[in-house]
Symmetry: C3
């Protein structure tokens, strides 16, 4: 049906390209990242629309912040030796740090340095978007090793009235019902969280583009987390409330340790049901309730928004040790991890596309034997091979969709796809 | 209320009479079986109506097949010694085998012999109703012991435009709501599956015939499995959809190893609820979902038919080792087994007959003491003996039927029958 | 919010005052008890209305019995030595015993003496309200020790056309929706069952009287068990069906061994949900189904009455060894036990008063940071402190009340009260 063998490698390479860029919720890094993604998509003649929303725009209860431009950030000691420099790792600068250029004591330095004491070797990822601060991040061990003395703290940055950047790409289908995939582009150099999401999403766009006569219209969104989702919803929530069938936020999709779903607010949407039906047949799978939410599913499920959006991860954000530290680098993602994520989403899309409440159109059991779908010898044990088809038929009574039937009869919904094809071909089922 | 002590023996004797007959989905064996059953019923002046449906009749997606007449079948070796002969065991001939009379090599013989390799001492039960074949069944050990040489394979049978035979008996009640019991008459000499079902059903007919002022109309059906049920439904499904309250397919009801229920498609009908409520208080009980279906509950629950029909077995078909082999003989059924099955169905019928959503007709708890239904001394521990009655009253609020209350208060619904009688007598409850 | 430190002691002292009185379902003891309670309430200028219902009044299926006046009861031996005397313990006389004054043999004596053989040291509590008997209660050991001889059995009592006494106190709120607390006043000298219930209820009246602008109207009822509840319902059930939001029967609320709820008939009312939500966060908690009912929740839940009333106990009646014996004395209740019961009911009332289906009034997540409700530094682990508020907001979508949200997010509903206050103050939620 589709070639996935090289896809893991392809997505890994794209992740590698966007990894080094210093991104934040606004600014040049976001635009550079989107430019690389559009270059990747150009081979298939598809492109994200890049949108700019001015600083100061009201989005629900929030306001689009000033744009942040970061040029340089370091700390040097009295000997002129650079203790840390964001050239080495862009996590070293506090996100949205305002300019500073001054000599401070070790005690003063400590008040502007953030560490992760429980992971003393790692640089944490810390931001201060909505309160102006100058700050740096370093490992606890490095901070502990600094001798008394004077330190030169230097940040060359700017906060100015610019804009917030997001990207949208729509692939029309036969109906106006929509499937949405989103991820975010606001994290600096961390591989799984979150270079993996935009990279995987881009590969999925190419897959959807190849589906002939697709039923659903597909909406792909890349934006900064929280403020970007709020901005996007302030523009699109009425449309989405009318048209959105199912949406998934992709985050931390490049490692190979788990398959995770973060459920919607009441875990009761078609998106919860469908993705879970597939994931539970993976070798590993973790289900998290909405109480463990943390990415943009928060906004999509907020009261008054209430969209059928869930989260999909391999190792869930917040649950793997490298999360939000310098250890989230290209070593923890892999072509094999991306291959699994890609295959999962392709399976989900294929199931959604074929999903209907089918109804068998004969009364009583159909005679499968005369259609070469059943053994002509009747002996105990002989029927097992067609039991999935017979079970599908038994519950294809117009009451259950594909995922309901998979749940009832205890199989992966992907196993039902060839059966549906055969029965449609024999004209035994209809919608 | 009823005498069951000798019923087990009586049903066992009837089973013994029909066991030797060679039955299939059509033919003389079916008619001979029904004739014996009508003779058994004649002492109570009740009779099955015997119906014939011509070969070639369309029944939903199926066609009534030709009638099969089997006269003789054997294999002999070059010395004229009969290797197998259906006179010894009618499982030796493949069901619906077409005529053959020829000498074959051992290799050719193997291609027309069916065995059960995992039970090498037993003759399996095998059929080929819808594809014409000549064939034989024998034990794997016998097949393995045959020397090279020539073998004379002989089947004297006929496939001709005749008819499919089924039987129907209706006992009218005060209402047109119906309870249906069915079993099937298409299996050759196997005792539990399926001489036991028709024999038990016949005894139940006699019981129902004794119920004065019965509420329900009772419908009893004996037909060949699958094609017979489809034929019966093609004639009666509209009537049944309007009138059927509950139906049970009886199969494998003569052994004493278990009590089994095979649930309806969604396990949500009054039949599921009522029979399960009784079975769960038996010493052993197994509940099987519809995914483990195998008898005519398949057709009664098929999409578009959707009748409240479940299966009842002692050891469930497919789950006991003798199933569909020559080991399913009179040794594995017993008077004790039949007695348990008979008692269960009588309890079920009694509960169904008295089943209503009763409503207590006083406000507050009734004063049981003044009606001699309650101790007049109040001391801790003194009330336990009437707790079931008090619990029944508490939930007799017009919302729950007998089986609901039994489930809520955790008792066998049969325990509620004398309580209902007492409260009706004291005019404390009404429907 | 309220001072509970001295409340346990205060309730214990009130219990101590009413403990010695010999009560029954009618009579002077009831009136004396209510008089003490009104004296306790008088400091807050509130009073129970005392009502009298004549003997012979029909109440549903029952009749108000004659009033019982008990003056003296004892057994003496031939030497004139009092074997037992109700002056020592009023459990010694069978409740509603009719007069007797005669010399009997030991064998005759045995037929009018009640003991608790499984607790041979204790005097049981036994009554015979609806059949006239003369009787006594003593320990099994005492009975066993009595030598052959003559015994003078003496009961100076009277059954006469008097009245049944109950008490009602209503504290009006802003709405006509009502919360009812009831307990009973018919038990003689047993501390937990049932001097504790009326004493606790009286203290709760004082608390409710201090709630400014209370939403609910509060109804407090003290009556004899069963016949009193039936009498009360025969007068008030129509009003209660229209207005009662939630009701709790208090019984055995003075010990400190457990917190127990006895659920309503279907365990599906707001009362079940709300009290259970609080109790499950107590150090110990037992939930009992309605099948374990035993106090006036029986009448409030009876078919045709169907009020949302549950039972609340510390150790549940019938489940603690001292129940209905002379061992249920002031030693098994304690200020600490009463304090816990009082606190629980105050928490429940506070939660009920603030309970609404709140709705967040911004779209998307509100920006808590700008309201100083959220840390301005974003680093992993930093948000946990406000997670309960964020979870509350996520589910404050107009669909869930306070108890639903507490259940969904897994917290004590009491934890939500300050959050609701803050969010109301910030005008972020509305009803």
């Amino acid at each position: 049906m589709y070639d996935i063998e090289n896809k893991g490698e392809e997505i890994y390479r794209l992740t590698e390209r966007i990894f080094p860029i210093c991104r934040s919720i606004t600014g040049k890094g976001v635009r550079e990242t989107l430019s690389i993604i559009n270059e990747y998509l150009s081979s298939d003649s598809i492109q994200f629309d890049i949108k700019e929303v001015p600083s100061g725009t009201e989005v629900f209860d929030w306001t689009v912040p000033k744009e942040w431009d970061i040029r340089s950030a370091y700390i040097e000691d009295e000997s002129g030796k650079k203790i840390i420099d964001m050239k080495d790792n862009n996590l070293h600068v506090l996100g949205y740090s305002v300019p500073i250029d001054k000599w401070v004591t070790l005690e003063e330095l400590r008040s502007m340095v953030y560490t992760q004491p429980d992971q003393p070797d790692l640089i944490p990822y810390v931001t201060s978007y909505y309160k102006e601060r100058s700050g740096f991040c370093m490992s606890q061990k490095m901070l502990d090793s600094l001798p008394e003395g004077k330190y030169h703290v230097f940040v060359d940055s700017e906060l100015f009235n610019g804009s917030l950047t997001y990207a949208e790409l729509i692939l029309k289908g036969k109906t106006s019902e929509e499937i949405m995939l989103s991820s975010y582009t606001c994290h600096p150099s961390m591989a799984n969280n979150e270079c993996s999401g935009p990279a995987l999403l881009s590969a999925i766009i190419k897959y959807v583009n190849t589906i002939k006569d697709r039923k659903y219209t597909y909406r792909f969104v890349l934006n900064p987390e929280t403020i970007g989702a709020l901005t996007y919803l302030s523009i699109n929530s009425d449309h989405l409330k009318e048209h959105l069938k199912a949406g998934i936020v992709l985050s931390c999709v490049g490692d190979d340790r788990d398959y995770s779903v973060i459920h919607s607010k009441y875990a009761d949407t078609i998106t919860d049901k469908s993705l879970t039906a597939i994931l539970k047949h993976k070798p590993k799978c973790s289900e998290y309730s909405f109480l463990k939410r943390g990415s943009d599913e928060r906004q999509y499920n907020a009261p008054g928004i209430d969209l059928p959006v869930i989260g999909f991860c391999r190792s869930k954000y917040g649950e793997f040790p490298e999360y939000h530290t310098s250890a989230d680098n290209m070593d923890i993602v892999s072509p094999e991890g991306f291959r699994g994520s890609y295959e999962t989403l392709v399976q989900w899309i294929d199931c959604m596309e074929l999903n209907e409440k089918y109804r068998i159109n004969v009364l009583g059991e159909p005679q499968l034997g005369k259609r070469n779908l059943y053994p002509t010898i009747s002996q105990k044990g002989a029927h097992n091979s067609v039991m999935t088809m017979r079970d599908f038929i038994a519950y294809a009574d117009g009451r259950n969709d594909l995922f309901d039937i998979a749940e009832i009869i205890g199989v992966d919904p992907c196993e039902l796809l060839p059966i549906v094809d055969q029965l449609l071909d024999k004209k035994l089922i209809e919608v």
